[in-house]
Symmetry: C2
Subunit: 341 residues, 2 copies
């Protein structure tokens, strides 16, 4: 079996660190692993596959000999560095926003459009985390009845702002728990503990934020539905890890609750947790505390949208998924694995 030289650009961040772990967990055929980060981290050692890998400074020369480069850096660095990896002969799977809407770049959720990797020109983009988490359970329902409209309110964890976001929420919880003043926010625009921040990303067209428009623009590309209508409201919540979403869908054709339940129960990447009678809340519906640090999107609270004038064509559900894993690292490693198959 062929072994691959794999590099992770941004190996010390929340997503990069998780990618190292996902490569191991998914039994990725890694011949050599290169961990690239800022000069500041160079020389540090990271455990991998029973050994250790030393972090190198991320310079274009480091891409020489790489088969696959996983990008886990900000848009600017991705735009600057990753084309050099392609020039060096690697195929790039990039988690940043930089290339996602480029018509020459496939944007892939393996459970939905794995076939799109076939037309890549060196770069394959990994979608936004809230987009992946909302689309994985929407797709099997779309296949039953054709989704035309999505109305989504998100409940996004601190992990979406990376390790600094998680550290900031933890520090705020610690301060509040000790009755001390809350430290000045840096990763977020306001205090997050015991608060909600209804803005993720900058404001774009029509008063929607960049994060909110991703669900529409990336969703249309991933599902090959250029006319899909999406209304998204993105809210940061004081949860360390795992995003949640309240999703209302409208369909072209009738869909029964039984059909929806069967489609979700059979869907790859989905775990249906929907038992109103369960004694424990943990068995009744997904909660972020239960969906952290695992790879599936959990779906529950499945019901008719009783506000839809045509109730036979409306479905509402609640879903939770780990933003660092399936929302980022897991999905990227799944794409890379498709490249090896």
């Amino acid at each position: 079996m062929k072994q691959y030289t794999v590099a992770i650009l941004g190996a010390t961040g929340a997503v990069g660190t998780q990618m190292v772990q996902c490569l191991e967990e998914q039994n990725f055929p890694v011949g050599k692993l290169k961990l690239l980060a800022s000069a500041r981290s160079a020389g540090k050692k990271v455990a991998f596959a029973g050994g250790e890998v030393e972090i190198e400074e991320a310079r274009p020369e480091a891409f020489e000999g790489c088969d696959i480069v996983l990008g886990a850096v900000d848009d600017d660095i991705a735009r600057d560095m990753l084309p050099k990896a392609v020039e060096a002969g690697a195929v790039v799977v990039d988690n940043s926003h930089a290339f996602r809407l480029d018509p020459d770049v496939p944007l892939v959720v393996p459970e939905i459009n794995a076939e799109d990797i076939s037309w890549h020109h060196g770069i394959i983009a990994n979608p936004n985390c809230a987009t992946i988490i909302g689309l994985v359970p929407t797709w099997p329902l779309h296949k039953v009845a054709g989704v035309t409209r999505m109305i989504v309110s998100t409940y996004q964890a601190a992990s979406g702002a990376g390790a600094p976001g998680m550290a900031e929420l933890e520090a705020q919880i610690a301060a509040m728990g000790r009755g001390e003043a809350i430290p000045e926010p840096r990763a977020f625009a306001a205090q997050l503990v015991s608060n909600l921040i209804p803005q993720i990303g900058g404001f774009k067209e029509e008063g929607y934020t960049s994060e909110e428009m991703k669900l529409q623009n990336e969703g249309r590309k991933i599902m090959h539905l250029p006319e899909l209508r999406v209304n998204c409201t993105c809210v940061r919540v004081p949860v360390l890890r795992s995003h949640s979403e309240s999703v209302t869908l409208e369909f072209e054709r009738d869909i029964t609750l039984e059909e929806a339940r069967e489609a979700l129960a059979a869907a790859p990447g989905v775990k249906l947790v929907d038992d109103r009678e369960a004694a424990s809340a943990h068995d009744r519906y997904p909660m972020p505390i239960d969906t952290s640090d695992q790879d599936l999107i959990w779906v529950g609270r499945l019901r008719r949208d009783i506000s839809n004038p045509n109730t036979a064509r409306g479905i509402t559900f609640w879903c939770c998924g780990d933003q660092i894993r399936k929302g980022a690292a897991t999905n990227a490693v799944q794409i890379a694995k498709l490249l090896t198959e």
Copy 2:
């Protein structure tokens, strides 16, 4: 000016305590204040209007001589005790769910249907907190264009479960902040700190919870819109106080964003906080940290619903309001004040 003998049934809970403060703040013409609670609290003293009021045990005889009784107890106690207050000659404003959908009982948000108090038969009901907070900003938009459909996802604070709910979240934050085990949940079905619980109330028809159906059933009664279509998802979030809601509305007639903004800016009980350009997040949109312990519903993130096939008839916004105040005590005291006018 006539002075009224006012009793608060359930005077020691989160809502009852707030009612005492609201009577003072709203300059309610209180001749005598009676604070009724369980035998356990009898004899304790509460500050009011520069003096002190001693808590009495809540027994039917205590209603003798009362003009107005404010109910801040659970449904069962309300159902048992409040008809006795009516028999004793008082008018009751009740915050429980017990009488809200009774066709003989007006259900009132003063900014919306103050005129309904005219046909009471001794009891006037105060609506559910999430219902009040969602409807106060919906009503002025309804008056412009006729609302036909509401899709709402809530972000409800611990205060909705009363003082025990707030104490439980505070204890969990303290434990997490000290790195200790989270105490076993009692007020909520699961740990709330760093988590979300997508269930408030028991499961009712079609898989919606009792809390979710209130927005439909109470909303129809308050706004006199028996055909209003409502899809609500209620989620408990780790916020101490102030509920938030992501609201999408559909209308019978076209409504411009400018009309919506003007209607909200002019609406009683509403504060429009919607300035994308503001340097501070606190001036950009409502957040629960800013809307706690005050009486207005703050509205922001006002924008077209770009998912509506007829975008001229769709509006989306975000709102926050204090659940103990406008969601309960403030609204009840406002109703009582209408009775005196």
